[in-house]
């Protein structure tokens, strides 16, 4: 079964251990307000216009079969209701300003791309399926299977909001699970992500049991200003992890990232966090200290960019 991919990131150093290649699957089961991969929220293909590459030649307008494209002064307007993501405009665009997010790959073809960096994986690197929510696409299990058959170490970066059966089918072909736990308060989780966290916590139990039998499990918690960054939330997540004994290898606190602002603009999606600054170094360190205090697991890491006190961040 084909999978829909938005991007492939070569030489990724932040999606699991070692050097990796990460495939970003399109479509997600959650709607986190802070999502830093907005192009992976919708399951269908989407067109992105990179204005700085556009030479305003208008070629795209002529090739669009549905009349979705028009210039409004200097800006290309995309009628997203009419766009069927045929990406003929992308093909024709001489400036490579138009970019189609969401291309179909057979698992075999995707694997061929993903293993090109094999020589660089070393003992602890490999391929990470991310997104979006990779496991929401049934073909992702075939991709994992295909990678394992080639002897590639696999990681799945999941939000946990997936059918338990899919997880159970995927885990035998997975070496590492990167499992997001964002907020433990169910009501707040629903408010921030569009879903309660019941399924996510049930699946977490499932993954922990898998980890006890030898799987590697990393928990990731995004530190989102005003949303997940209360010390109380961090302490509760820490306690949950600790309650799972030694099944969690590592807990990563991922500092809020605002480099995705342009992606929201290009998708014509308003973003609540548009004006939000990075965490300051001391805020991030305070949260990391709170996490450390919980003694949740052996490795607790703070990742991502922060800013110095007093620095404005634009």
């Amino acid at each position: 079964m084909e999978v829909i991919i938005s991007d492939i990131q070569r030489m990724s150093s932040e999606d699991g251990p070692g050097l990796r290649v990460t495939a970003f699957f399109k479509g997600c089961s959650l709607r986190c307000e802070w999502c830093h991969n907005p192009e992976c929220i919708a399951f269908h293909g989407e067109l992105i216009w990179n204005e700085n590459r556009c030479i305003r030649c208008g070629t795209c307008i002529g090739v669009c079969p549905n009349g979705c494209l028009a210039f409004d002064a200097d800006t290309l307007k995309i009628d997203r209701a009419k766009c069927v993501a045929c990406f003929r405009c992308e093909d024709a665009c001489p400036g490579a300003a138009l970019e189609g997010k969401g291309k179909a790959f057979t698992p075999e073809k995707l694997c061929r791309e993903l293993v090109k960096d094999r020589a660089y994986f070393g003992t602890d690197g490999g391929v990470t399926l991310s997104g979006g929510e990779a496991l929401m696409q049934p073909g992702s299990v075939e991709v994992l299977q295909c990678l394992k058959s080639r002897g590639i170490q696999t990681a799945v970066d999941t939000c946990g909001m997936v059918p338990a059966e899919t997880l159970e089918r995927a885990l035998p072909f997975t070496d590492i699970v990167l499992y997001d736990i964002k907020v433990l308060d169910n009501g707040l989780h629903e408010k921030l992500t569009g879903c309660g966290n019941g399924t996510i916590l049930e699946n977490f139990d499932l993954v922990c049991r898998w980890a006890e039998k030898g799987g590697r499990l990393w928990v990731r918690t995004p530190l989102i200003p005003g949303a997940t960054d209360s010390p109380g939330n961090i302490e509760k997540i820490g306690a949950l992890i600790k309650s799972k004994g030694a099944s969690v290898e590592r807990w990563e606190l991922c500092a809020f990232n605002n480099l995705c602002r342009d992606k929201y603009r290009r998708l014509n999606i308003p973003w609540k966090y548009r004006e939000t600054s990075l965490l300051t170094e001391s805020e991030a360190k305070r949260l990391a200290a709170a996490a450390e205090k919980t003694l949740a697991c052996a490795q607790i890491r703070l990742t991502g960019a922060t800013m110095k006190e007093g620095e404005t961040n634009g």
Binding site: F121, L302, T306
Partner: protein, 833 residues
């Protein structure tokens, strides 16, 4: 965790003793120093005497405009030296050997800087060529006369072909032999050979060459004796007892080496330095590419002896640090005229670590000592370290390498990759028919000269940068059916070149039915430009062979004594000339663009494309955008694009193998090092089908065109390996193929975020191990962030020490031009997101 900050700290030296700190600080005072090593000139005093030999500088287009000035001004600035009676009856080699020795031993000042532990200060010498009046006339007719070499070289460059010339340096002398046998051993060998000559041969060129070499052999011995006396005098006056003891040891060392074999580390370094610096003296050339070879291997026994005899490890490093400072004084050659141009990077290179017999790793305790010294002294330009990595490189070495990369702005060394490099050298052995001299039994003892040019040690006149060919010129000639697309003009006088360029008529491009037809025509033009450069090179090579011997260097290259032939005349056992393919990626991308625009997608026809190129894309912006953004590109791990890169690499490099110099019998071979030509030639060559405009830079060495490697460093490295031939069964060495024996310069820029902590350094280590498998022969890593570079542009005073890798060489960022600075910033910015 990374914290955003305005500018990163520039790497600073550390763990320097007061002695080394002073020597280092003193060096960096530059023009304010009282002592320097600027060229000192010596003349025979005759009115026809000449000193400056421009052939070494035919590969430095920046200097063309000053040739006449140098030719005329050096004799005026020179001190006269009276020559013995009958001087002009001797051969040129004998005259030069006598003259250079006389100037170096008896006329150059000898000084020892305070605290220095190694003797040998002044070596930048500009000596009379020692030509007679009639020789001068003959030589200058060939060099500067109508239709002479200079005129052709200048036109060659002005019309965008590239440049070439018989250049000094760029080889690895047989230094280990001097450490083992001393010059006494060399001398004895020459005497035996001289004795064995027939009476006729004794009178002939072989006899005179050997006699010149005998004279040359006594130069280092006599100079050492002079320095020994100086040390003795200084010791006599020295009040500090510790320093006095040092000077007395130096005196004893110099009474022994380099004439006799060295026995401990101090003696070995003293012997090595004096022997090396006199090569620069002999060639009248401040050291570009005169390289040390596998220094941690051949110095190891001396190190071990000294350590066993109680030498403190830190004192051993102190000796090395003194050695380091001496190498940097090469840059003083033209210090009053500024630290620009050629002086941005010399490349007295040494290799450490690497593979030994049967794939064994040769890392030893001295390897780590060298790495420590590199780190503690850095940033500093010379000597230039090159660390050899291979499949079996040990983890502690890789850890240290990664730590050093993480701690500096640019890796403080080049990295060479043994498997791919050795594959190239074994291919060379096969192609050149010299498998007796290069084979699986000794290829691991290769080393690099200058930047990354792989050669054998001690017997290889490697001539690595002598021919620099803009491969892109063949694209222009193909599109023009053998004619150029624009009128070229003399860079100095602005006069247009009217003469036909002489290229074959390969047909009007519109008549090419398919891409194969186009490619066939393109290869015909490629053969033409290769023939053109080898022919032109041969003229300057013939000039040098006839008029500019280097008898001292000949003593240090195996084969010269045996053949009784100077190293400039093909005396070495191995004689190669590298044709460095410049503009490789721009050329490949241009071919890919022609295929895409004209044949695959039929976006335009040849007429339109040619018109667009002639208009420098003005009025053809949409087509240019398609050429730039839509046509496939080399450097993205795109199998189809890389297949064309590999095909062209194989085709052009195979063509090069067909040629040898008529003058010296040297075999041409391929390599890829673009020094700074990819910048300058970008202003000469017209717009290219890949979307590049005239005035934009060309691609650098084997690197993809700047900004096209959108899939990151691993895909970039995979493409480079693929272009060299990739891997497969029956490779040239193991699975590795390599069409470029001389190596290929590959530069990447990594973000500092990739080395922010131990875990990330492990990731960088994985990258290097992957590079061994998939990448090219040599890698240079810049670790920079764009903000820091922009800050350095605005506040150069804060960044005097900021070293960046440009191509095969490091340069101080603040000393290079604004365009190149912008280019380096663009390269970094691109990698950030």
């Amino acid at each position: 965790m990374e914290t955003k900050k305005k500018s990163s700290a520039v790497k600073t030296p550390y763990n320097l003793s007061p002695r080394i700190q002073w020597l280092r600080d003193y060096y960096f005072k530059g023009c304010d120093r009282k002592w320097n090593n600027e060229f000192l000139a010596f003349t025979t005093g005759s009115d026809f005497d000449e000193l400056f030999d421009e052939t070494s500088f035919y590969i430095v287009p920046e200097v063309y405009a000053f040739f006449n000035t140098f030719v005329k001004s050096f004799p005026q600035a020179a001190y006269p030296v009276e020559t013995p009676a009958g001087f002009y009856a001797w051969s040129i080699a004998e005259r030069r050997a006598w003259f250079v020795k006389e100037a170096a031993v008896n006329r150059m000042p000898a000084e020892i800087l305070p605290g220095d532990l190694i003797a040998g200060g002044r070596f930048n010498l500009m000596a009379s060529r020692c030509w007679s009046k009639s020789e001068t006339k003959q030589r200058n007719k060939l060099a500067f006369g109508k239709g002479g070499v200079r005129e052709k070289v200048i036109e060659f460059k002005d019309r965008g072909f590239g440049n070439c010339g018989a250049t000094s340096g760029h080889l690895i002398p047989d230094y280990p032999r001097i450490l083992r046998e001393g010059f006494a051993g060399v001398k004895a060998d020459i005497l035996t050979r001289l004795d064995a000559l027939s009476a006729a041969d004794k009178k002939g060129p072989r006899g005179s060459q050997l006699r010149a070499m005998l004279t040359a052999c006594s130069m280092p011995c006599e100079l050492a004796a002079r320095y020994a006396r100086l040390c003795g005098e200084l010791a006599g006056k020295e009040a500090d007892s510790a320093r006095k003891a040092e000077l007395e040891t130096m005196k004893r060392n110099l009474e022994k080496v380099p004439e006799k074999p060295a026995e401990d580390f101090w003696e070995a370094l003293q012997s090595l330095w004096l022997t090396h610096m006199l090569v620069l003296t002999d060639e009248n050339y401040p050291g570009a590419g005169v390289s040390f070879g596998r220094i941690d291997q051949y110095l190891l026994p001396y190190w071990q002896t000294s350590v066993a005899n109680g030498m403190d490890r830190e004192f051993g490093k102190e000796l090395l640090k003194c050695f380091w400072m001496h190498c940097n004084y090469a840059y003083d050659a033209m210090i009053s005229t500024g630290n620009q141009g050629i002086t941005a990077g010399y490349g007295q290179l040494f290799n450490i670590s690497g593979m030994g017999k049967d794939g064994r790793d040769m890392t030893n305790e001295l390897t780590y000592v060298f790495l420590e010294v590199i780190d503690e002294m850095s940033p500093i330009l010379e000597p230039k370290p090159n660390v050899r990595l291979h499949t079996g490189s040990p983890e502690p070495l890789l850890d240290k390498v990664v730590d050093l990369i993480a701690g500096s702005q640019g890796a403080p060394f080049l990295l060479n990759f043994d498997e791919r490099s050795m594959a190239g050298l074994l291919r060379e052995a096969k192609m050149a028919g010299c498998e007796d001299l290069i084979n699986t039994g000794n290829v691991f003892d290769y080393a690099s000269v200058g930047c990354l040019e792989n050669t054998m040690c001690g017997n290889d006149r490697s001539a690595t940068v002598d021919c620099n060919l803009n491969l892109l010129k063949a694209v222009e000639l193909t599109l023009g059916n053998g004619k150029e697309l624009m009128e070229y003009t003399d860079a100095v006088w602005g006069k247009p070149y009217k003469s036909p360029v002489g290229a074959p008529r390969t047909g009007e491009p519109e008549t090419f039915a398919d891409f194969e037809a186009f490619y066939a025509a393109f290869m015909t033009q490629t053969r033409f430009i290769i023939k053109k450069i080898v022919d032109l090179y041969d003229e300057s090579s013939a000039l040098r062979a006839r008029f500019s011997p280097t008898p001292y260097l000949s003593c240090l290259v195996r084969g010269c004594a045996e053949k009784g032939l100077d190293v400039t005349q093909g005396g070495a056992q191995l004689n190669f000339i590298t044709v460095e393919g410049v503009t490789f990626a721009t050329t490949v991308d241009s071919l890919l663009a022609v295929k895409y625009l004209i044949y695959d997608k039929k976006i335009c026809d040849f007429k339109t494309l040619i018109a667009a190129l002639k208009a420098n894309w003005k009025g053809y912006e949409v087509l240019q955008a398609a050429a730039k953004n839509k046509a496939p590109k080399y450097g993205r791990d795109d199998e189809e694009a890389d297949a064309l890169a590999c095909r062209f690499m194989s085709d052009w490099s195979s063509e090069v193998w067909k040629y040898k110099t008529a003058s010296t019998g040297a075999q041409f071979r391929g390599g890829m090092l673009s020094w700074n030509y990819w910048i300058g030639s970008g202003y000469i060559l017209p717009a290219s089908p890949d979307g590049r405009e005239n005035g934009q830079f060309l691609s650098n060495a084997i690197c993809p065109v700047n900004g096209t490697d959108i899939n990151g460093p691993t895909s970039n490295a995979n493409s480079v390996g693929a272009a060299l031939g990739g891997k497969g069964e029956n490779g040239d060495f193991g699975e590795w193929f390599n069409c470029l024996p001389n190596g290929a310069s590959h530069t990447i820029t990594l973000s500092p975020a990739l080395m922010r902590d131990g875990e990330h350094k492990a990731k960088l280590k994985s990258f290097l191990k992957g590079y061994v498998q998939n990448g090219g022969t040599a890698l240079q890593i810049n670790i920079l962030d764009a903000d820091m570079l922009r800050d350095a542009q605005e506040h150069p005073e804060d960044y005097k020490n900021l070293l960046v890798r440009v191509t095969g060489y490091n340069a101080y960022f603040t000393s290079i031009g604004r365009e190149l600075q912008d280019e380096i910033i663009a390269r970094e910015s691109h990698n950030r997101f």
